[in-house]
């Protein structure tokens, strides 16, 4: 591994001195910064996708995954935002988290700091209830909250994450009010729901796929049914126009040269259509839904607006 790195560095040095043109990108290893520790959901996605980007960039391209965990991804993404836009630093990007951090914290980056490459994973929110609660449909969930506002406790992984913004969206759409219980991470929230310590929860479909028999999954916040839980109706089917989820993708620093950007976009496009990668993503519970380039940037802006709207009306700190 180490030898390989050395060799690669040596080779790239030789190439540089021979005055290789930009069109030869990549001529040295690309660093992919992951803002979470090894083994987490974002890390697994990055390590799954990286070899396929190497494959479709071709010419012996190599990607080195570098974990820079801390402050829910903020340390890593700040590093990406301040790196040289030469195509040799890429980063994983989480939505709506990365945009929410620009609101609730003093972040040293904003929506303009990045070149948006590809959003690869879209993990839709689900609302689940504990077996003990007796709530099995969206209608019951809404009616009970309308009769007695704040009577239902809803667990989630944190404030300012996709689940929190999702529930706020749901409350606005349905004119309801719930008691929000932010746990430390979604598995803690899920356990509290399993044990009946809170009556409901907002999670992501990948987190409940293995618990379908132990929880009531009352709806999926997605336009169509998810392949992870084909028996669970969407909220739209139940008359509530509610879609939301957690997104995970890849960005580069703002100002990436156009030819490099085009090359990367092409590689991401091909990689995310590779059946081998899709199978790997399914096995590691990463629901793939690809949004490339400008569409991704637009998606980012939409989620920024949603987060901002929630932050303005109901700041969480």
């Amino acid at each position: 591994m180490f030898n390989y790195k050395k060799k690669a560095a040596l080779m790239s040095a030789l190439l540089l001195t021979s005055g290789a043109a930009l069109a030869d990108y990549p001529e040295k290893p690309i660093t992919l910064i992951v803002g979470f520790s090894a083994g987490g959901g974002t890390d697994v996605m990055a390590r799954n996708v990286a070899p396929f980007i190497e494959k479709y960039l071709g010419d012996g391209a190599s990607i080195v995954v570098k974990n820079m965990p801390g402050a829910s991804g903020q340390i890593g993404i700040t590093e990406v935002a301040h790196s040289d836009p030469d195509g040799y630093t890429l980063g994983t990007y989480n939505l709506p988290g990365m945009m929410a951090r620009t609101l609730d914290r003093d972040a040293k980056y904003d929506a303009e700091s990045f070149t948006y490459l590809a959003n690869v994973v879209s993990d839709p929110n689900v609302i689940v209830t504990s077996k003990r609660s007796g709530i099995t449909t969206a209608q019951q969930f809404i009616e009970q909250a309308q009769e007695a506002p704040r009577s239902i406790t809803v667990g989630m992984s944190s404030l300012g994450g996709d689940d929190h913004l999702g529930l706020t969206k749901f409350q606005n759409i349905t004119d309801t009010e719930y008691t929000i219980i932010p746990f430390k991470g979604s598995s803690a929230a899920r356990t509290a729901i399993l044990g009946g310590h809170v009556s409901a929860g907002v999670l992501n479909i990948s987190e409940v796929a293995a618990f379908k028999d132990e929880l009531n999954v009352i709806g999926v916040a997605k336009a169509e049914r998810s392949e992870y839980a084909p028996n669970v109706p969407t909220f739209a089917e139940q008359g509530v126009d509610f879609t939301n989820g957690a997104l995970r993708g890849f960005v580069a620093p703002a100002g990436l040269p156009e030819d490099i950007q085009a090359k990367l976009l092409d590689a991401f496009d091909k990689a995310t259509k590779d059946p081998e990668l899709l199978a790997k993503m399914k096995a590691t519970a990463n629901p793939v839904e690809v949004t490339l380039g400008e569409d991704f940037e637009q998606l980012n802006n939409e989620l920024h607006d949603l987060a901002n709207q929630v932050w303005q009306t109901t700041p969480w700190k």
Partner: protein, 497 residues
């Protein structure tokens, strides 16, 4: 269900799998023995490399590392009073005095046999009782977990040392450190001074290395002219001769195993709390509690049994419910996910061969510990102590830097460790006890988070802390631990005159 367990055995008995476990145990012992390197770190470094391996081989490595590291932490704890892992703090209480008396070899043998006993008990609990024990975990919501934390904090009483005031100041310092970082509910920054690196709070490993390793190292370097070895000789005898002497600890082994398994299935606290609690319990029921802390082998046995007994049991909630009982279990969940094994009730149905194979590997890892750990401890580490003091001290400093740097690959953590090192040095000189700091950090944050969750769920009603049976039982236990010794002392006094 037990049919699946047996069916998984043939898959495990292969050369590669055994090799993986052996390498894992050896690597684990080495990692555990180095201050600053922990099982959590070793496994998280390993996970990305296991992508290409067969799942069982990868899991075998992890199981081996976990078992090995929990014992490895005892080695420097006994020989140098530097716990290699947070869970080995309680091992140093009696282990180090034993080494000073020239019984270091026996202390390590007790540690390795106790570790293996705890590990085996824990693996059996995982194999035979995982589904029912998972239901127990579900009984523990925020209110119950809060009371567990309070119960644990009460055990600080036993760690206060000679001066209760100094002990309490230490505990408060630990609780203060637990408050640094993002507020557990609102993510409001507390005492971070704008440093993102402080946002996730202070890692227990950084605190431990600074606080525990720095004072002894400075101590080693303070007398540089003395080029003799740092410690007394180990005076080891064959483990087979030493073994029969250990049978007297059977009660402690069983009690500590149960405590370790119990703490393991509860989310959050982990090996260090298991070791502290079982040390306290063992001392309370000992016939000669006054000798504890002076080199009582049973103290080593209690601590080491418990910190290995929580290994496999921490995986019970992890595998069945997807909630890790300890930081190591959390990393292992990541390792499982990499191989497409989604933790949860479905895991036992869909991937029974791998899950039960993993359990067998835990059992084998624990048994192998006796053979690998026994000879390693007595042969290799005895030579370590023959090194001149300045060289030994320098080696440990290098290891501390590498270990702390490698947690997140940043120098910030190293500087933080040095600050804690200075604090630790001063505390040590002024005889402030260090264990309450560790417990304060671990349990303070734990108590705060769960208290606030309980109040949120109860919509501000404090009675939410008392309105279920499990909580009330825990409250009663806590009161018994505080008041029990007082009443006992009074009764003894009344009888005397």
């Amino acid at each position: 269900m037990y049919g699946d367990l047996l069916a998984a055995l043939p898959n495990v008995v292969s050369i590669e799998n055994f090799l993986a476990i052996v390498i894992g145990v050896l690597a684990g012992i080495a990692v555990g023995a180095m201050p600053g390197l922990s099982a959590t770190m070793a496994i998280s470094v390993l996970v990305p490399f296991t992508f290409g391996l067969d799942p069982l081989v990868a899991l075998g490595l992890m199981a081996g590392i976990y078992n090995g590291a929990m014992y490895g932490g005892a080695i420097p704890a006994v020989l140098l009073r530097i716990p290699g892992t947070p869970a080995a703090v309680a091992t140093s209480f009696d282990g180090y005095p034993m080494a000073q008396q020239g019984r270091g070899g026996y202390a390590l043998q007790v540690a390795v046999v106790s570790s293996a006993f705890g590990g085996i008990a824990s693996a059996l609990a995982l194999m035979l009782l995982a589904p029912p024990l998972a239901k127990v975990t579900l009984l523990f919501g925020p209110a119950e977990v809060f009371w567990i934390a309070v119960f644990g904090l009460c055990s600080i009483i036993f760690l206060l040392g000679e001066s209760p005031i100094k002990g309490l100041i230490s505990a408060c310092f630990g609780i203060f450190v637990s408050m640094i970082g993002a507020d557990p509910i609102t993510s409001e920054e507390r005492f971070t001074f704008g440093y993102l690196e402080l946002f996730d709070g202070i890692s227990i490993v950084i605190l431990l290395v600074g606080l525990y390793a720095m004072p002894p190292v400075i101590d080693l370097l303070e007398t540089p002219l003395e080029t003799k070895g740092a410690g007394k000789a180990l005076h080891t005898e064959s483990i087979f001769k030493a073994f029969p002497r250990m049978f007297g600890y059977w009660k402690t082994w069983i009690r500590s195993s149960l405590i370790g398994i119990w703490i393991g299935i509860l989310p959050g606290a982990g090996g260090s709390m298991a070791a502290f609690m079982s040390y306290n319990e063992a001392r309370r029921s000992s016939n000669n509690p006054e000798q504890w802390g002076e080199g009582e082998p049973e103290g080593v046995a209690a601590s080491e049994t418990a910190n290995n007994a929580d290994t496999a049991s921490a995986l019970i909630p992890a595998l069945t419910l997807g909630i890790p009982g300890t930081a190591v279990a959390a990393v292992m969940l990541g390792g499982l996910l990499v191989h497409g094994l989604q933790p949860g009730p479905m895991l036992f149905r869909d991937n029974a061969d791998v899950v039960f194979g993993f359990m067998w590997q835990f059992l084998f890892g624990a048994i192998l510990l006796i053979f690998l750990g026994g000879s390693l401890a007595t042969n290799s580490f005895a030579n370590l102590l023959k090194l001149p003091r300045p060289i030994l001290g320098s080696i440990i400093i290098v290891l501390m830097f590498i270990g702390v740097y490698s947690i997140n690959e940043r120098m910030f953590d190293v500087y933080l460790m040095l600050i804690f090192g200075m604090i630790g040095y001063v505390m040590d000189k002024f005889k402030f006890p260090l264990p309450p700091v560790v417990l304060g950090l671990i349990l303070g944050g734990f108590a705060e988070e769960n208290l606030r969750l309980t109040l949120l769920i109860g919509r501000g009603d404090w009675m939410a802390l008392f309105n279920n049976t499990t909580s009330l039982v825990l409250v009663a236990l806590t009161i018994a631990v505080i008041v029990g010794p007082m009443i006992k002392r009074r009764l003894v006094k009344q009888r005397k005159p």
